[in-house]
């Protein structure tokens, strides 16, 4: 079964790299550069995993996470958050808000692949 991944990341080159890696690993990847198109993307098809950058323009990763957890349709949806080192306080807040996993930038491609496989239980 193909895992559907929704990636919300504002850095186009990181987006492109992750999309490439996960697609090669058999995922169906949808990318967004901020949170505004999320509801629309969800309507088209519920993903199996959301990969969320913590620092996003406009609505932050934390706000998007809170929104997902507040909605019964997505409150159990696995969420992996991309963070930079030194954001300890934000990480604690994200943990409390119910994030499933953190991936610290700069990450290795193997780590991303392994984490996605784990979270989508393939």
């Amino acid at each position: 079964m193909t895992a559907r991944v929704l990636l919300i990341e504002d850095e186009p080159n990181i987006c492109e790299a992750i999309r490439f890696i996960l697609s090669r690993d058999g995922c169906d990847v949808t990318t967004l550069c901020d949170g505004t198109g999320m509801a629309e993307a969800m309507r088209k098809g519920m993903p199996d995993l959301v990969i969320l950058d913590l620092m996003l323009p406009g609505m932050s990763g934390m706000e998007i996470l809170a929104q997902l957890r507040a909605d019964p349709a997505t409150h159990a949806l696995p969420v992996m958050m991309l963070t930079a080192k030194g954001q300890g306080r934000d990480r604690e807040a994200a943990e409390r808000a119910g994030v499933n996993m953190f991936m610290t930038k700069p990450f290795s491609n193997d780590d991303i692949r392994a984490a996605v496989r784990h979270l989508t239980a393939r």
Binding site: E16, A17, G86, K105, P106, F107, S108
Partner: protein
């Protein structure tokens, strides 16, 4: 001859001890091997004394030389106590009961330890300020984020290019282009970081000392007076000195002090102040009435005169000290809150009510001071604004207790105060057995 500011009390202690032993001045001088007139000068604190002569006098008087030297080492001892308080490691408590012994036997090491303690305090503040800057500086965090993003992209993209053998030529081209872009971003991000950390474009706003301390050090260096403000051209020199202070905050504080001195000197010039003090017997309230200015303003003028023997502490309504001019023997805490028994705080609670008290400092060689304190209020924004309160305490050393006078015991700060049973105690003292 003015008293030696470094050792004002050794002489009095020697005299006290000699009289207690019923020794004549001539006898003591002979046994020590100095002339009686020299000893007389020493006993009246008109000659600096130390080393050999002190040791021989102490031997004849059968006292620890360090005890005699404490008159000079009071501030040093306080710093050492603070050092012991802040660095008390488990199982290795400093020998507080032998602190005078330490100062007496190893004055050099004691000074080094005290200086280290001060330095630690300064560095702790710098670290806190730098930490604040790292945590809250938007420029730095933006630069770091930019670099981290570029590095993430480079790492991942380079990994793809290295690991994917069958990569489509179009994708390969794309990833090469991305790598190139990101390396450019990395270069400019790194440059921005280096420029930031180099700090050449930033004024030095992190000084080693707290701004208030920096201003106090500056005033101490110039003998606690700004008399030049009354001389033609004098202001220019002071302005140059203020501009040379290390931190922006200190320059601002110092400028406030200078502006106030200028204003107060114009209302009560030096010559008039001296004449009024002669006529009114050093009573700041009487001088203030005669001059038509506020009492606190007179206290400040009295304390900031060239060669003034007065110490002065000014605080705001929260009890935070705004100004400290030390006087030998009365320890003003460098960090943390002061002794709540100071008449300063009594006055703070009763605006415009004069408080006068004889206070005795804590320690093995207690000193006596006359404290005059008063609190005044201001309405800088008129009836609509807050009432701001300021209290000032003028301190002058006394040699003898006037008959029938009540003496209030006070301290410096709870942590290093030996009055263990003090009803005003806020926190335990580290002075367990050094009373």
């Amino acid at each position: 001859m003015p008293q030696s500011s470094a050792a004002p009390l050794i002489g009095s202690l020697i005299r006290e001890r000699r009289l207690a032993m019923d020794l004549r001045q001539g006898d003591l001088a002979e046994r020590v091997g100095i002339s009686a007139s020299y000893l007389n000068l020493i006993e009246h604190n008109r000659r600096r004394i130390g080393g050999d002569v002190l040791a021989r006098i102490a031997q004849v008087l059968q006292v620890d030389p360090a005890l005699l030297a404490q008159g000079a080492g009071g501030a040093l001892v306080d710093d050492l106590r603070a050092a012991a308080a802040t660095s008390g490691t488990a199982g290795r408590q400093a020998e507080l009961d032998r602190i005078e012994d330490f100062v007496g036997r190893f004055p050099g090491w004691a000074a080094v330890t005290a200086a280290t303690q001060q330095r630690v305090g300064q560095l702790e503040r710098v670290v806190a300020a730098l930490n604040d800057r790292l945590a809250h500086d938007p420029h730095l965090s933006a630069s770091l984020h930019e670099v981290l993003s570029a590095v993430s992209s480079v790492r991942s993209t380079a990994g793809i290019l290295a690991e994917t053998e069958d990569i489509d030529p179009d994708w390969r081209l794309r990833f090469h282009r991305n790598l190139h872009q990101d390396s450019e971003r990395l270069a400019s991000g790194a440059e921005a970081l280096v420029a930031y950390l180099d700090g050449t474009d930033r004024p030095g706003d992190i000084a080693l000392a707290a701004p208030q301390e920096e201003v106090e050090a500056w005033l101490a260096e110039r003998g606690w007076h700004l008399a030049e403000v009354e001389a033609p051209g004098g202001r220019a020199r002071i302005t140059a000195e203020v501009a040379a202070l290390a931190s922006v905050a200190a320059r601002k504080l110092a400028q406030t002090v200078v502006d106030q001195a200028v204003q107060e000197a114009s209302l009560l010039p030096d010559a008039r102040l001296r004449a009024l003090m002669d006529a009114q017997g050093d009573d700041p309230a009487l001088v203030a009435r005669a001059a038509g200015v506020s009492v606190i303003s007179v206290m400040r003028r009295m304390a900031l005169q060239p060669g003034s023997p007065f110490g002065l502490v000014i605080c705001d309504a929260s009890g935070t000290t705004l100004f400290r001019k030390p006087v030998e023997g009365f320890a003003l805490p460098r960090f943390g809150a002061a002794c709540p028994l100071w008449p300063l705080f009594t006055a703070l609670g009763r605006p415009m009510m004069p408080v006068t008290a004889l206070v005795e400092t804590a320690g093995r060689a207690p000193r006596l001071f006359r404290a005059q304190a008063i609190s005044e209020t201001r309405l800088p924004l008129g009836f609509a604004g807050p009432e701001l309160r300021e209290a000032a305490m003028l301190l002058s050393a006394l040699d003898v207790v006037p008959p029938k006078a009540a003496v209030t015991p006070v301290g410096s700060s709870c942590r290093i105060c030996p009055r263990l049973d003090c009803p005003a105690r806020r926190e335990p003292s580290i002075m367990t057995d050094a009373g």
